[in-house]
């Protein structure tokens, strides 16, 4: 997206902003390990964001599966966001399954097998 001249403050060279990601498809990683995919519509200074056509993907990496859930228009609070990036799509070589099957697989996980990647680390945000 070409941002019209004058919209990015010229007196803050190198200043980071989500402005150039507006109206782009993004992937947001949340502290509860779920990923949201949608189009970034709005943000603020706390990195609260508004995402439209939002879809929530939950993963089980050890079984190489994920499930999707449509969320529509969603407002996400900034402190639950780990990171977000422009997403070009793709499944990462994983298999998509329905909600029911995902639940079954999740319950069938052994003791040490659950999602090894921890996203909800310390609470000093």
């Amino acid at each position: 997206m070409n941002v019209p001249f004058g919209f990015i403050p010229g007196f803050l060279p190198g200043a980071s902003s989500l402005l150039t990601s507006l109206d782009k498809s993004i992937l947001i990683i949340l502290r509860d390990s779920s990923h949201l995919i949608g189009i970034l519509r709005s943000y603020d200074q706390f990195s609260n964001v508004v995402v439209s056509d939002c879809v929530r993907r939950r993963f089980i990496v050890s079984k190489n599966v994920y499930t999707e859930e449509k969320r529509g228009l969603e407002v996400v609070r900034g402190d639950t966001i780990i990171m977000l990036g422009e997403f070009e799509g793709g499944k990462g070589g994983m298999r998509e399954v329905g909600g029911e099957e995902f639940k079954v697989i999740e319950e069938g996980l052994g003791e040490g097998e659950e999602n090894k990647v921890v996203w909800d680390f310390d609470q000093d945000f």
Partner: protein
């Protein structure tokens, strides 16, 4: 503000960001803000097998609060300048305290 200014001088340099959950991202530092949120371009993940779901990401915005380390190219950092800036900042803070007291 010191580290904000410091990182601004490192824009467009290659860096590696280690998050608090041990995920390491490498990429080009595009920009930084006052909260030390980081915008990285051309990211690649150090252990991609652990994170297959992130293969579609090219540019990321990382919230400052989740960063543990930022690894910098040593040739790009002027340590003397950094130390001077720290001393200056310290001196300013000391004066402010004196004025208040």
């Amino acid at each position: 503000m010191l580290f904000y200014s410091f990182f601004k001088t490192l824009c467009s340099k290659p860096v590696a960001i280690e998050l608090k959950n041990d995920l390491i991202l490498t990429g080009t530092l595009h920009s930084v803000d006052q909260y030390l949120n980081i915008h990285l371009l051309n990211v690649s993940i150090v252990s991609p097998e652990k994170y297959p779901q992130l293969s579609g990401l090219k540019n990321v915005f990382v919230r400052g609060s989740v960063v543990r380390y930022i690894q910098l190219p040593s040739g790009e950092v002027d340590v003397e300048l950094l130390m001077d800036a720290t001393r200056k900042e310290n001196a300013v803070k000391k004066n402010e305290k004196k004025v208040k007291a």
